[in-house]
């Protein structure tokens, strides 16, 4: 009998913790299968995805000239923008409005029922217990991806084109978005007394990021730098076919921060002051990680039409610039020229030139009055480039003009145009055949039937 054991440490729980992960995962999976919130998410995700997909296919067909209408320029028809992003946009909605309740329940239900008092005494580290919950959430979310994947299969079935790198990049973005949301929801559930309070905290976080996005759009500067990592903005990079290391690292760090805060606050045997100190320590470490992560310049343009890159010849030429390049932009945040400049030039340059700094010198939000009279009026619209002690000004936001200016400033000869395959575009005038049946009838029915089976046949729940 273990009671006869002469000294403390009769069993090394910490060593056993990881080996218990499958048992704990099976338990969390069963709890997920017993969760009404999860099944409601599964039932509703089908019609949500279906609505996005059917609308997207119809619009794509219209743009492709279905029914004898004029077709748009083929090069403008990309399945990433036309089909995948609107279809998978349903998951962004589900992640914001449905998924947090699923994640919160995995913790709040145990806190409210008293099960957490048993869970804390189980022979596993708390971090392993939380890891089991996260793994169950990931597995559950991957099942919720089925309608999205069915949409992809249907698109191929209609004869649609897919570029796998940009498709997988989009899925990675949605996966990281889920992880981030899970981190926030679990931290909220650990901090709050009840599931309802946790839901309010999570919703507050979401609204806060929306407000940040909104304010950053009008003010620019450091706020815009921070807002580039809000869930919506971070996902937008992936939707543009760009895999940015900094975005992925920051999303991962915020998710990890959430899980770590959950671990700290679920240790109810610790004093509140101790938990606050530990939370601060976690925040400092994660803030440092986020800061370092946001510095990472590595990125990969995975879009098939290379929308995030200059032509290859220009990229080779621009890489010769090793000196720090400073760009001072006298354009207000809400000025459409700035948005155009950032999208078509600045973001591409940032990917190529590691020592590039951009400074926003405009004084107002819109530039309307600035350009017509203020102290800075004469300079409004100017974009200054400073390289190795030389400065040059240009007002253009057009790619070839800016590049020519940069070559001149750097003393580099403009490259000859390289022969590279042009993006052909993929028009497709297809009807979303069978999609209504699949997403509006079959999927909800299948989800309801599986729910019923899960309640009555425990084999489905491990």
């Amino acid at each position: 009998m273990t009671a006869g054991c002469p000294k403390l440490g009769w069993r090394r729980y910490s060593l056993r913790s990881l080996s218990l992960l499958p048992v704990l995962f099976a338990k969390e999976w069963r709890e997920l299968m017993a969760s009404r919130a999860y099944w409601l998410l599964l039932i509703f995700i089908g019609p949500l995805v279906g609505n996005g997909f059917i609308t997207a296919v119809n619009l794509y067909a219209e743009a492709s000239g279905i029914g004898g209408g004029a077709a748009a320029l083929a090069q403008g028809l990309t399945p990433l923008d036309g089909i995948l992003v609107p279809t998978w946009g349903a998951y962004d909605l589900a992640i914001t409005l449905l998924f947090p309740f699923v994640a919160i329940r995995l913790i709040s239900a145990e806190k409210e029922s008293g099960a957490w008092k048993l869970a804390l005494q189980l022979p596993a580290n708390l971090s392993v217990t939380i890891a089991a919950k996260v793994l169950a959430l990931i597995a559950g979310w991957l099942i919720a991806w089925l309608p999205g994947l069915i949409a992809v299969v249907l698109w191929k079935f209609y004869g649609g084109h897919l570029d796998w790198p940009e498709t997988l990049n989009l899925l990675l973005g949605h996966w990281l978005r889920m992880l981030l949301s899970a981190g926030v929801a679990m931290a909220a559930a650990a901090l709050a007394e009840s599931a309802a309070s946790a839901a309010i905290v999570t919703l507050t976080f979401t609204l806060g990021t929306w407000a940040l996005d909104f304010m950053a759009a009008g003010r620019g500067g450091w706020m815009a730098e921070v807002a580039a990592f809000t869930p919506v903005a971070a996902l937008r990079w992936f939707e543009q076919g760009l895999l940015r290391l900094s975005t992925a690292l920051v999303m991962l760090a915020i998710a990890l921060a959430g899980f770590a805060v959950a671990v700290v606050w679920l240790q109810v045997g610790q004093r509140v002051s101790t938990r606050i100190y530990r939370t601060l320590a976690v925040m400092i470490v994660i803030a440092a990680f986020i800061w370092l992560g946001s510095m990472a310049r590595a990125s990969r343009d995975l879009s098939e039409n290379r929308r995030n890159s200059f032509p290859r010849a220009d990229e080779i030429a621009l890489r010769q610039i090793s000196a720090p390049l400073r760009i001072t932009i006298n354009l207000a945040p809400e000025d459409p020229r700035l948005m155009d400049y950032e999208r078509s030039i600045l973001n591409k340059l940032k990917r190529l030139l590691p020592h590039l700094t951009a400074e926003y010198a405009a004084q107002s939000q819109t530039g309307l009055f600035e350009s017509s009279g203020g102290a800075n009026a004469e300079r409004y619209g100017e974009i200054w480039y400073e390289l190795a002690g030389r400065k040059v000004m240009n007002r253009s936001t057009t790619e070839p003009i800016v590049l020519e200016q940069l070559y001149e400033l750097a003393g580099i000869q403009a490259p000859a145009k390289m022969e590279e395959p042009e993006f052909p575009g993929y028009p497709l005038a297809a009807h979303p055949k069978a999609a209504r049946w699949v997403f509006y009838a079959l999927w909800p029915l299948a989800a309801c039937l599986t729910w019923w089976l899960a309640r009555n046949d425990r084999r489905l729940t491990l």
Partner: protein, 261 residues
């Protein structure tokens, strides 16, 4: 010094010597706990001996559950020390030495009794007993496929007892183990607990029914307003209360309890 105080002092002195001679599994020294300005536990000291059934008794609000939660590391204490086999036992490592089964919890409502028993079996792999045996001993066989949320209070209590007995920690602390059980079930559970104690498992039970405590416990710790007001066997407590001198040598636990508190 009055004769009563003297006899108490002599008793405590002899108890200290006794403690040195016997094997203390768990020793609690000067444990304190406050909620805001309210003192819930004040300088609580006692010991648990290996293989005994120790009863923790006291009126409502005496601090029994808080004491259990502090000992289990589920609530932070404000001072004091806990040692296990004379080695300091930090709050973080309490779960290696003891398991605490709270009262009035309803865990994993959607899961079945069978699953809960199997879950604890898989986690602890206790060679001394198993879920099937305990399900039989606690009359849970017919409930194996029932969701825990559908169980009555007594059924849930029996399931929780089974879960507690599936854990292998040397010390098992049960908060109100007979609450919700009928007379027959209470007797059966008492026998079961005694059997486990007979195999060397140490049990600490918080009981508000003094008759139950007297029937099942080897020794008792009396808690009143967060303080230990008595510790020992019924005879020792009777002596401590001065009831032997007061002409009540056969006084039961209720009289002792009233005299001490």
């Amino acid at each position: 010094m009055s004769s009563r105080s003297l006899s108490v002092a002599v008793l405590y002195q002899s108890l200290s010597v006794y403690n040195l001679l016997t094997m203390n599994l768990l020793t609690v020294n000067g444990l304190s706990k406050q909620y805001d300005a309210r003192t819930v536990l004040q300088d609580v000291s006692f010991s648990v001996q290996q293989g005994e059934v120790l009863g923790l008794i006291g009126p409502n609000g005496a601090g029994k559950t808080t004491l259990f939660e502090c000992l289990a590391g589920l609530a932070p204490d404000d001072g004091g020390a806990v040692s296990f086999h004379q080695q300091a036992l930090t709050a973080a490592r309490r779960k290696e030495a003891l398991f605490y089964l709270p009262d009035s919890i309803a865990p994993w409502a959607a899961q079945t009794v069978r699953w809960a028993l199997k879950f604890f079996e898989q986690l602890y792999r206790n060679r001394e007993t198993n879920g099937a045996t305990l399900a039989g001993e606690l009359k849970l066989e017919h409930l194996l496929n029932a969701p825990i949320g559908s169980l009555s209070k007594g059924e849930r209590k029996r399931l929780l007892l089974a879960l507690g007995l599936l854990t292998p920690q040397p010390l098992l602390m049960l908060d109100e183990p007979f609450d919700g059980l009928d007379l027959r079930q209470t007797r059966d559970v008492m026998r079961l607990l005694r059997r486990h104690a007979g195999r060397g498992r140490t049990l600490m039970l918080s009981i508000h029914q003094l008759n139950d405590a007297a029937r099942v416990c080897d020794r008792l710790v009396m808690l009143s307003e967060g303080k230990v007001v008595g510790e020992g066997t019924i005879d020792e407590l009777r002596a401590q209360a001065g009831l032997n001198d007061g002409g009540l040598p056969q006084a039961g636990l209720e009289e002792i309890f009233l005299a001490i508190t």
